[in-house]
Subunit: 202 residues, 2 copies
DNA sequence: GGTGAAACAATCAAGCGTGCATGCTTGAAA
DNA sequence: TTTCAAGCATGCACGCTTGATTGTTTCACC
């Protein structure tokens, strides 16, 4: 088992912790909330169940940390994807597509499992709500900037929110089947309507 | 698996079966997929666990039937809500709002639990997919009729689908918090855009 | 009214996930 | 080198859920 270079004490511990969190997110996306037992997560992380229990005494501790972890990952994803879009007439199209991809990926699937599980778990809900709100604010802000939209105009704020809500709905549809083709068609149509809306008042 | 769908001979039996299915849907919406044990469902239905087991030998049998049940309920809901909308200039607004309500209600919450659980359960997915597809087709068809839209025009079909996907996304946002106010604002804005789109080519 | 099958109830065994308690290993400081 | 705490591994007990078994009641039909 002891393979590769043994890291210094603290770094190795941090690495184990990180592997556990990454494995928790992967498991959520692949085997769901109920299927993500600590044994399964630990095995995927390549550590023993006892090691997992050392870092996260209870299962709740593990997934509480996983929520924060996946939140950071999603914000990071958005920050990385949105600002690099080329300016020009098709910018709206690119932005809308990028958001669509974000809500079709592994991170969203994992977050969705937490989101739905939190609907019937008070403890979890208390953890999920503030962090999801942060993702929402961040996504909204980044989208406004990427689109170059002016929220002081009436309806613009709602149009941006609708874009994010639409992406969520499309992401949901993408859970059970690969909905990529339909998503691109819908988003393409949506992008034209959105850029028309934004063009009326710049 | 090939079971002859045995018709209950007695009214009492049929009533018990119906209560179990209704209770299963309620439990899904309130305590989620993992919390909906057969004991919980049976207790809510006011029958013993043995009675539940008589009607549905396994838990899978129970929720397989519950999927079909909630599907029928959702289609019924749509059929009842959409065609009764008053015609006129605000019809688009009414239709969009009605769809939004549909995806904010108990039936959607229950279906969402099944949907997410099915993402990591092959058996469940096989049951959910065709029935959800039926709900999707039905919702699309009814929406087109209620809007009086002509799908032969380019973009109209995508606009209707976007309406449904947007409603799904808003319904998801409505899971953990009461999102009614924001939903109405977003849908109002979308309704104006949608009616503008539909008005360009009638 | 008796009979048999369906409907309902109660109990039991097995599997699984969690949490705890107990050891072993590592590595840095004394 | 010795020491000691953090990191890690293993085994066990408890609670919960499921599915099967057996017993009891209800009801249609002869």
């Amino acid at each position: 088992m002891g393979e590769a270079v043994r890291e210094p004490r603290q770094d190795r511990s941090r690495a184990t912790r990180g592997r556990l969190l990454a494995a928790a997110v992967d498991c959520l996306a692949e085997v769901g909330w109920t299927g993500s037992t600590v044994s399964v997560v630990a095995e995927r992380a390549g550590v023993s169940r006892g090691a997992a229990q050392h870092h996260f005494p209870t299962r709740e501790d593990l997934f509480t940390a996983a929520i924060a972890y996946v939140t950071d990952e999603r914000v990071e994803f958005l920050r990385a994807a949105l600002p690099t879009l080329p300016p020009g007439p098709d910018r709206t199209r690119f932005v809308v597509d990028a958001i669509g991809e974000m809500y079709a990926g592994k991170l969203f699937k994992a977050a969705l499992q937490l989101w739905v599980a939190a609907a019937s778990d008070e403890q979890l809900r208390a953890q999920v709500l503030p962090l999801e709100a942060r993702v929402g604010r961040e996504a909204h802000q980044l989208t406004v900037e990427a689109l170059g939209a002016d929220e002081s105009h009436p309806g613009v704020r709602e149009a941006v929110q609708a874009t994010l809500d639409l992406a969520r709905g499309l992401g949901l549809a993408n859970l059970l089947t690969d909905d990529t083709k339909r998503r691109h068609r819908v988003l393409a149509e949506w992008a034209t309507a959105l850029s028309a809306k934004l063009a009326t008042l710049p």
